[in-house]
């Protein structure tokens, strides 16, 4: 049982997702099977429209599969919950709350009330505030705590989004192209921060990306998806690079280049993007 939990923390079996559209049913995902071990970092990569985000939403519980089953920590995923925190592509901070309040909202929800299933009691206001401050400090935003999202840069907003997800101490961290909208320098910095945080918290992470370097640098396992419609998992690549990883050293590593080549080969040779078919 415990071994089962470690190696098969998230288990996706025969998942199919069909959307109703005006032109009739549209099959986004078909026959998706995937297991994620506890503490593993998995990247989902593929061309746009291949259903990466659809799969992530299914794990988050934001949508329900048409067929198949998703299990997380031995429980069927029946809906969204704070145990599977999501960092959204467009940060999704509430613009009328300060950074502190945005994070506090999540902290208060998870730790502000007694939880019978885990046997924890409600924490005091001071404890909740300390947790919020700690989460903001982890992403280096202590000084921006009292600012509204409209007053800070895109990279800072994304970091607040990450702080909001991490503060809940989730079992699984789900990242939907978290750095897609950022410039290359900011992205690299946040990737390094994420690596450090994940190493410290030992989180299980599923991340959607379409950046090959990001996938190889961060993950233990790269899940490459075929083109939609009816997308499925084309290939799973284990990335056995030692941690901690350093982007500068890796840039010359033959192993790194080998993994990079494998992903590029899959994306551009075997799954050359056919925009018209997907649309």
């Amino acid at each position: 049982m415990s071994d089962n939990l470690t190696t098969r923390y998230i288990e996706i079996q025969g998942v199919e997702q069909t959307f109703k559209t005006k032109k009739g049913p549209f099959c986004a995902l078909r026959n998706v099977n995937l297991t994620v071990a506890k503490g593993e970092f998995v990247a989902l990569i593929g061309h746009s429209g291949c259903g990466k985000s659809t799969l992530l939403n299914l794990i988050a519980g934001l949508t329900m599969p048409t067929n198949g089953s998703l299990i997380c920590a031995n429980r069927e995923i029946a809906g969204p919950g704070p145990d599977r925190a999501v960092v959204f592509q467009n940060h999704s901070l509430l613009p009328w709350l300060t950074c502190f309040e945005n994070v506090y909202l999540a902290v208060e929800r998870v730790f502000g009330a007694a939880n019978k299933s885990t046997g924890t009691t409600a924490e005091s206001k001071a404890q909740l505030k300390a947790r919020t401050d700690a989460a903001l400090a982890m992403v280096g935003l202590t000084t921006a705590a009292q600012k509204r999202p409209g007053e800070i840069s895109g990279g800072m907003k994304q970091r607040v989004g990450i702080a909001r997800a991490l503060c809940m101490e989730p079992k699984v961290l789900l990242l939907d192209e978290p750095f897609g909208a950022l410039d290359a320098l900011t992205r690299a910095k946040l990737q390094d921060e994420l690596l450090a945080i994940v190493a410290a918290t030992q989180s299980t992470v599923v991340m959607v990306t379409h950046d090959v370097d990001e996938a190889v640098l961060l993950s233990d396992k790269i899940v490459m998806m075929t083109n939609g419609p009816s997308a499925t998992i084309g290939e799973v690549l284990s990335v056995e690079l030692e941690r901690p990883r350093n982007r500068v050293e890796l840039a010359e590593s033959t192993q790194y280049l080998h993994y990079r080549k494998a992903v590029i080969d899959f994306l551009y040779t075997r799954q050359a993007h056919v925009e018209k078919q997907a649309a």
Binding site: G79, P80, P82, R84, W96, L105, G150, D183
Partner: protein, 303 residues
Amino acid sequence: MVSAVFHSPLAVTEPVEASARVLTNTTAAAFIATPVPVARQPFDWRGLWLAVLPPVIGLGLLVGLWALVSITTASSIPSPIETFKQAVVIFSDPFYRKGPNDQGVGWNILMSLERVALGFGLAAAVGIPAGFMIGRFEFLSRMFNPLISLLRPVSPLAWLPIGLLVFKGANPAAIWTIFICSIWPMIINTAVGVQRVPQDYMNVARVLNLSEWKIVTKILFPAVLPYMLTGVRLAVGTAWLVIVAAEMLTGGVGIGFWVWDEWNNLNVKNIIIAIFVIGLVGLVLEYVLIKVATAFTFEEVKN
């Protein structure tokens, strides 16, 4: 983003570097943000000219046309100067009371505003929660949409006889009419606002598993507020239009009744003064509500 926040030449010429520095070193950011002393600008005469001259010409055009009409109709429409003299007389004592049907213009305006406030307040109390429910629940939306579509185009004055019949009094009937005309924009705008709350925010609520109370107070209400305030602004505008007509029919004390009374007295000067007064009060209401609305709209929502 960065160049929009830090208006220093350094940040403008090196935006990427500056942003990296801001992220890594906040003390550096504080240094960059230190305001650079700006040379005093010469007074902007051209801006003043553009701000003042066109409105003055516009008003002049109106008064000129009015004077022209006055001359061609052989003063059956009073001239601007006579009307102005009369206005001075009226506004020298706006709050006199000489019996139930002869009161100062100040009382008339206040009575009209009171009716608008009452009718509008009741409409807000009913319309905003109703709009929330209709926007939140598909079933209610489908249930009430045909009713709203059917009743909204009806002139609120058509409801006046029903009001007179049910409430057996002129004053409540006028308030009822205001209630009817202001409730539609508030229901519709609130409902649309709720339906347009970005799915991202609702996804946040779902992932955090927030309670319905938290969803309403922390997400729905702030997100809907700008829409709601637009509804309020439209409602008050319509209410101020309708009150004049309603009071013409119901009588009593009020700016609409005053217009009708002066028409019966063939006192055209007072009618023209009333038109200006109604316009000014409407302008002030609109201005105040726009100020309130901008104070509650977040940049992020507009983008």
